[in-house]
């Protein structure tokens, strides 16, 4: 089933500059694929997405330089405001402004934590939806 979540902290303008920092970046000249490796951090506006490895996929010709999406692998963490989501991998479609996280997704919003198989975040209007077996984990101990 699907659970809708409000990501207030994530509503942002997706045409803001995207900065991708990493230890190393390898660019294959012939097909233009760019692979960032080594604690990669993508930041745009208030959103930080960190992963072990990120590959940039181009829209159309590589030399046109339009990045369509960033594929993050090897453990992904997305932080925005006090919301945080972890998963095995994620795809951030820059033009559409959507982040799709898959594989043991764990979403923590303040005290509550939700886990599921898939989390789709819409950055344009700051909403998200958890799909697959959604389990809620309540913070039971006193803070």
């Amino acid at each position: 089933q699907e659970t809708a979540i409000d990501f207030g902290g994530l509503r942002q303008d997706t045409t803001q500059p995207v900065e991708v920092a990493s230890d190393a970046l390898e660019v294959n000249q012939s097909d233009g694929t760019a692979t960032f490796s080594g604690n990669v951090v993508v930041s745009q506006g208030a959103m930080r997405l960190s992963a072990g490895r990120i590959t940039a996929i181009y829209a159309g010709e590589a030399s046109a330089g339009r990045i369509r999406e960033l594929r993050a692998e090897e453990g992904v963490t997305l932080v925005a405001g006090e919301d945080a989501a972890e998963a095995q991998s994620a795809v951030y479609d820059i033009d559409e402004g959507s982040v799709v996280m898959t594989g043991d997704v764990l979403l923590t919003q303040g005290p509550t934590a939700l886990s599921s198989e898939r989390l789709v975040i819409d950055l344009v209007n700051g909403t998200g939806s958890l799909e697959g077996r959604v389990r809620t984990i309540f913070e039971t101990g006193e803070r």
Binding site: T15, V18, E26, Q29, S30, A34, G65
Partner: protein, 202 residues
């Protein structure tokens, strides 16, 4: 000169003298007005330049070309090459231009103010070093080392690269030959700045 009674003979006698004189005059002015351009071309080096070339054993606009194991053509051309005053067995080239071209036509253009040929096939490029690739990458740095035998380039310092998606800053860069083309590797901490809305209009 014989005198003649009729006008015709006198005219002929007069012309016999006047016409050759006119011809002589035309002939002599001919060389006077001839244009001088072709004559006396000097060699394009002044005496001072010649002395300097001899003194420094300088070779002017030399070029080198070779082929790497992968079959890429490496060419180097420069304004002039002369031995390094401190260590004579090393050569220093000024305004060096290098190209590396793969059989498929992918090209890398290198330019630098000076290039010093140290040991082996390494060429140290210094002074406003630029690398441009046919895929639209422009890398700038203060120093790069080109290995002319393998056609690989590595920067020995921080670099800034203008690339199709945006701009990359990194601590170091190497350009090597992958299976099907050049591979640019930025290391030591890299940062890409990408502007999504750039080019959205077109």
């Amino acid at each position: 000169m014989a005198t003649f009674d009729n006008r015709h003979s006198r005219q002929v006698a007069l012309l016999k003298v006047a016409l050759p004189l006119i011809a002589l005059a035309i002939l002599s002015t001919l060389f006077l007005l001839a244009d001088r351009r072709g004559s006396g071309d000097r060699i394009p080096y002044s005496q001072l330049e010649l002395d300097r070339i001899v003194a420094e054993q300088r070779i002017s606009n030399p070029n080198y070309s070779g082929v790497t194991p992968e079959g890429d053509a490496v060419t180097l051309a420069s304004g002039s090459v002369r031995p390094d005053p401190e260590s004579p067995e090393e050569m220093i080239a000024s305004d060096l231009i290098g190209t590396i071209e793969t059989p498929k036509g992918e090209r890398i253009l290198l330019s630098a103010e000076t290039g010093s040929f140290r040991s082996g096939s390494d060429v140290n490029l210094t002074g406003d070093v630029r690398l441009r690739s046919s895929a639209g990458y422009r890398v700038e740095s203060d120093g790069m080392v080109l290995d002319a035998e393998t056609g690989t380039v590595s920067s020995d310092g921080a670099i800034t690269a203008i690339v199709p998606p945006g701009r990359i800053d990194a601590a170091a860069m190497t350009l090597t030959r992958g299976a099907d083309g050049f591979v640019l590797r930025f290391t030591g901490g890299t940062k890409l700045l990408y502007y999504p809305d750039a080019g959205k209009g077109d």
